[in-house]
């Protein structure tokens, strides 16, 4: 997948988001070994120190873990992965609801619209 960085947002937090997405979507599978910091940095076109910092943060969030000599791996903990999905879903809902509120929809309007939309796509 392509790395695309937006202006004016710290790159390390954008890396965290992208890596989180890759883990949540299964592009990196549970237990899979991650590429080295240098390879990831080259691929993304970013400073290796920045990549290192982002991976350290992912480690702190327990999405990845490192083994002393063999490198970094994606977590196998199902609770962590489940939590990650919930967190991402919540974030997307927030963004989505935020936009709809801006065009004047109430919580109920949104819920109705979602229900109708789901029925539409089923049909």
């Amino acid at each position: 997948m392509e790395w695309n960085f937006k202006n004016g947002i710290p790159i390390y937090s954008q890396i965290i988001d992208e890596m989180t997405m890759r883990i949540a979507s299964g592009q990196y599978k549970p237990g899979e070994k991650l590429p080295s910091v240098r390879d990831l940095a080259m691929d993304a076109g970013v400073n290796p120190n920045t990549m290192q910092r982002a991976l350290a943060e992912l480690e702190r969030r327990e999405l990845v873990f490192s083994e002393r000599t063999s490198g970094r791996f994606v977590t196998k903990e199902e609770t962590v992965l489940k939590g990650l999905h919930e967190e991402l879903a919540k974030r997307y809902f927030e963004e989505f609801a935020d936009k709809l509120r801006k065009i004047g929809m109430s919580g109920e309007d949104i819920a109705d619209a979602v229900r109708r939309w789901l029925e539409d796509i089923k049909a």
């Binding site: 004016g8 790159i11 076109g45 400073n47």
Partner: protein, 231 residues
């Protein structure tokens, strides 16, 4: 520990003050952007670090030493213009670098030269401007130096080569080396920078990490540059 120290450095050319009391410390393990508009003093500073110019006042040290024979062993320098004999072929130039620099890694140079499709038997004189620049950069980056001083490394090359060069800088990165890149093409390189130094009319007006700039100001380094140096 700072590997490059610049103390109250001033350089005058007659009545022109090119550098005005510049003080900087650069640490190992960093990729630093020396950013400023044309004529702000970037090349003068890099030339002083290479011992090609002498300061009017103040001093610089590299790994504790004044610029000279000893520092040239650990400094890989890409000048702002061609400094190689132009009658030599690529292969001869590889040989020249190998003779001059004990830290030169021939295999690495050959790899880069082949990746960029540079003809090994062509003489420098016959190469296009961009190819000359690429070749010089390959030779410089193939050294396993402690300090890389790159004066406008991406100015004359196409975007695809630019990406290759940046990837080369990243892959070459190591904890014990510092890379100083002077340029005004900020958008292209800002994602690889640790530290950013803005230089304006011979003075350092800002020295921060690139991430600090994005975090504190919500701006890219490029945007901030355009603000600071608005004409």
């Amino acid at each position: 520990m700072a590997i490059i120290e610049i103390n109250n450095l001033t350089k005058e050319f007659g009545s022109l003050t090119a550098l005005d009391c510049v003080a900087l410390k650069l640490e190992k393990g960093q990729i630093v952007g020396l950013l400023g508009p044309n004529g702000s003093g970037k090349t003068t500073l890099i030339k002083i670090l290479n011992g090609l110019l002498t300061p009017t006042a103040g001093n610089v040290t590299i790994d504790g030493m004044a610029p000279g024979v000893e520092t040239k062993k650990i400094v890989a320098y890409l000048p702002d213009r061609n400094a190689l004999p132009d009658y030599m072929t690529t292969d001869k130039l590889i040989g020249l670098y190998e003779d001059f620099f004990t830290d030169f890694n021939r295999a690495k140079a050959e790899q880069m030269i082949d990746d960029l499709g540079i003809d090994r038997n062509q003489v420098l004189k016959k190469m296009s401007k961009g190819t000359k620049e690429k070749l010089q950069l390959c030779l410089v980056m193939a050294r396993e130096a402690e300090v890389y001083l790159l004066d406008e490394p991406i100015g004359g090359v196409d975007p695809a080569t630019r990406d290759y060069i940046l990837r080369t800088i990243i892959s070459n990165y190591n904890q014990d080396a510092v890379v100083l890149i002077s340029t005004h093409l900020i958008a292209d390189i800002e994602s690889v920078l640790d530290d950013v130094v803005f230089i304006k009319e011979g003075r350092v007006v800002l020295h921060k990490t690139a991430e600090e700039i994005r975090e504190e100001k919500g701006e890219s380094v490029d945007q901030l540059f355009r603000e600071v140096f608005r004409c």
